[in-house]
Amino acid sequence: MRVGVYFLPGDPAEYLTHEALVNLAPQELRERMNLASSPLERLFSRPMGTSLVSGKPVWSLIRDSFLRTLSLTLLTVLWLGLISTALLYTSRRSKNLERLLDVFSVAIASTPLFVAGPLILLIFSLKLGWFAVSRSVWLPSIVLALYLSGFWYRNLKGRLEEYYHRSAVRGARSRGLSESKVFLKYLLMPCLGGYVGFLAAQLSSLLNGSLLVELIFQWNGIGLLLNDAILSRDYPIIEGSLLLLSLLTIVILFLGEQVRIRWESKLK
């Protein structure tokens, strides 16, 4: 990104002021963007500074937006866990239900977020009034969880398949344990480590989905901040947001993998 702004031909300050994207004089914009310094200084200067549009510190804007996205993501993960578990449990009841849920998961995966989101908003917020139209985290998290549940259901079903025919499960059933206890203790619990690892690996799809959901439901998270920054070519916010999200993805991926390895070694 830095190479794109600072090293490709052309003057980014002239471009931004010419396109009326930033309301500053070119010289002031050049000072803010540090274009007067040497190439090495430009490349390794602090990634965050002040926003070109609002003049506010980039870190404070990103921090506030990130906390809102974090609340949306955590709630989405909770709903996702509940919905996926319910779908997996229901699919074990009968073959017909399993086939129906397979078709249902494909149907969900075929409905883009920006189609399902506004329709759900129309029905549950505007017509029925069950949820607030904007600035509420409940409906966006449910919509995002529903959208991802189709994909998660199919993946987790594949993971659970290898545990269905194990002797521990057969033994538990023969001892008269209820189906729900067998499902929770002998199927879901062994998969939990892999579930956490899978969740960490799917963080990128969660963040991608949160961008669209924040746009539809006007939730002031980092996705909406990034989208506004892209439209107004506010490069410090774009750089800062991507840096934070990339670091977060790598750290969570590493932690998720560690949890999965330790959980599976404990089970053995």
Partner: protein, 234 residues
């Protein structure tokens, strides 16, 4: 003819004049059915060459990667794996901020999202072929690169490509519609599916039929390709 030969932009207004009203008008008085068909045509004409180029580029890069020196190979893997785990939509969207709104920018952003995924896929398949006993024995007997490619890689990769095409179609359609919904690619004379959905979102309360009439064909297209990819896998 709606799905005619590619060549030039088609104005939705022209279609509205020739096609009768079926579902409703959008905010500018154009037939929703005509708009949807024009947008679908535009999407397919953009997706097909993008699919072919992505497949060819990813296959070539993944194949060449295995014949690089170890240091270069590990660096290559690092960048491909990094791109595939990072939020691709946000990165591609941010990348498009550095280039003015244009169709090539849209194609490049779409390719940025699909290439890492494809390269990891081919990587796994090529590695699996290299570990096979028949490949190892052919290599030990001193077969040249062309013979190895023709006898071992080409049959497996070709069958995987055929099985993967419907799934890739859904993925590329979804990516293209998402980008045009978010405004990547600028404004063109022909409406895109994503642009129509954006308009439908804005007029949700006053004219919900705009969103419904545009999203129903999109859903049916994606659903059909998903079912086709599941059938091909089995």
């Amino acid at each position: 003819m709606i799905f005619g030969f590619p060549g030039g932009e088609i104005s939705a207004t022209e279609y509205s004049i020739r096609h009768s009203l079926l579902i409703g008008h959008d905010a500018f008085g154009r037939s929703c059915l005509a708009l949807t068909l024009v947008a679908a045509r535009k999407t397919f004409l953009e997706i097909i060459p993008l699919l072919l180029v992505s497949l060819a580029a990813s296959l070539a890069l993944a194949y060449l990667r295995h014949w690089l020196r170890e240091t270069l190979e590990s660096w290559f893997s690092f960048w491909v794996d990094s791109f595939s785990v990072l939020p691709g939509l946000l990165i591609a969207l941010s990348w498009s901020a550095y280039f003015p709104g244009s169709t090539p920018a849209l194609w490049a952003a779409t390719a940025l999202m699909i290439l890492p995924y494809l390269m990891r896929l081919w990587d796994g398949i090529i590695l699996e072929i290299q570990l096979r006993q028949d490949f190892q024995s052919t290599l030990a007997l001193g077969a040249d690169q062309w013979h190895l490619f023709k006898a071992h890689f080409a049959p497996t990769l070709f069958s995987q490509v055929v099985a993967l095409v419907p799934f890739l179609f859904t993925r590329l359609i979804l990516i293209e519609v998402t980008f045009t919904f978010l405004g990547v690619g600028g404004v063109s004379q022909t409406e895109s599916w994503g642009g129509l959905l954006f308009q439908g979102k804005d007029y949700l309360l006053e004219a919900p039929w705009i969103l419904i009439s545009v999203s129903a064909p999109l859903f049916l297209t994606l659903f059909s390709f998903h079912l086709l990819s599941k059938t091909e896998k089995t």
